[in-house]
């Protein structure tokens, strides 16, 4: 006999409450207010449709999602288990990718724009992600200049050997979806990518379904903890927190620069190596870069060693745990 109380309890931990669901038609996008702890589902209504995405802090539009940081931390194809981060100096986790049934998303390509369709294809007017985003964001008073680099869901891209990024066809089906958990209150703006003459969405525009849920207990439990750092700044820490309201750039006559840790001053430190140590040093010294500047070659060894020993993220990527050593 199943314990009905226990089964019910397990069910309730998994239960999501649907708050909103609607279809985004081709050529359109929509801004959704998403509160911390809510889940945004971007779902294929037909299949094979790229969805471009912008995201702002709902209470401060100057904090917005940053593809640069996101791709540095998570690579070129972020997926389930990764975060969408905001730009410096905020650098907060805005959304967490809880579920991704296709696992092919892109943060290499910018949004498509009217310029592209005019310059490459000769269109006077054509559906394009920049203008669709701008039109959706206009509902909240944002301007076309506020549209930022897009996170491109379901977009299949690769980096070729010559260093160029290329787009390939996708293979997503009706019902495929990405679930994003809001780590803060955000304005989330998905749009149906307007590219019907590119392979991005296999040469056709299709609707997508957007749903918002209140996260279940299990959803929230699956989100990893993110360390908070002093460097994740807020506007009250800015020397200039006033949002500039005029277009012209004019120098402030009272401006006095205050760059941190300046002046940068070098100290000379002498190190003596014996024959055996010198032989090891000679073996590793990058003469191709530093020539006879042994001090510079040793400094390279010193900090390369430090990276190997203490960094837990590659190539200077910010650590998601915020922990560099103990």
């Amino acid at each position: 006999m199943p314990d009905t109380a226990a089964v019910k309890k397990a069910q309730s931990r998994n239960e999501r409450r649907l708050l909103d669901t609607r279809i985004l038609e081709p050529g359109t996008g929509k801004a959704f207010e998403l509160r911390k702890g809510e889940v945004l589902r971007i779902e294929q209504a037909v299949g094979n449709q790229c969805v471009d995405f912008n995201c702002f802090n709902l209470h401060d539009y100057k904090e917005f999602m940053h593809c640069g940081r996101t791709r540095t931390v998570h690579g070129f194809n972020p997926t389930e288990g990764d975060f969408l981060w905001s730009a410096p100096p905020r650098e907060n986790a805005m959304l967490y990718i809880l579920k991704d049934t296709v696992r092919r998303n892109d943060v290499l390509f910018p949004r498509c724009s009217a310029f592209l369709y005019e310059s490459a294809y000769g269109f006077d007017v054509h559906t394009n992600c920049h203008d669709i985003q701008a039109e959706a964001q206009r509902e909240y008073g944002l301007t076309p200049d506020d549209v930022h680099d897009s996170f491109n869901f379901f977009m299949c891209t690769e980096v070729a050997r010559d260093g160029r990024a290329t787009i390939t066809r996708q293979n997503s089906n009706k019902g495929d979806h990405v679930d994003l958990v809001a780590m803060m209150d955000v304005l989330a703006i998905p749009n149906v990518c307007g590219a019907d003459i590119m392979r991005t969405s296999n040469f056709a525009l299709k609707p997508v379904r957007i749903s918002i849920f209140e996260a279940s207990e299990n959803d929230l439990a699956a989100v990893p903890n993110v360390a908070s750092m002093k460097s994740q700044r807020t506007p009250d820490q800015f020397r200039n927190a006033q949002i500039k309201a005029t277009r012209e750039l004019v120098a402030d006559p009272d401006y006095v620069p205050e760059f941190v840790n300046t002046p940068i001053e070098e100290e000379q430190i002498v190190l003596e190596l014996d024959e055996a140590e010198w032989a090891i040093f000679e073996e590793h010294a990058r003469r191709d870069i530093y020539g006879d500047d042994h001090g510079a070659a040793f400094r390279d060894i010193l900090f390369s060693w430090w990276e190997d020993r203490f960094l837990n993220a590659a190539s200077g990527a910010p650590s998601t745990s915020g922990k560099t050593h103990d």
Partner: protein, 56 residues
Amino acid sequence: MGSEDGKRHRLVLSLNQQQIELVDRTIANGFAESREALFRLALKEYDERRGAKADA
């Protein structure tokens, strides 16, 4: 550190205040007794790590 009468090779490292801060913080975290000891540790471990594989 080597024989008493062996040849010594002198290096001059130029480190700025931020680089020195990282060096000294690593020492404070217990990884070496002194800057000189940390530099030697770095060389030794760099060699151990890179010895086996091609340098990048």
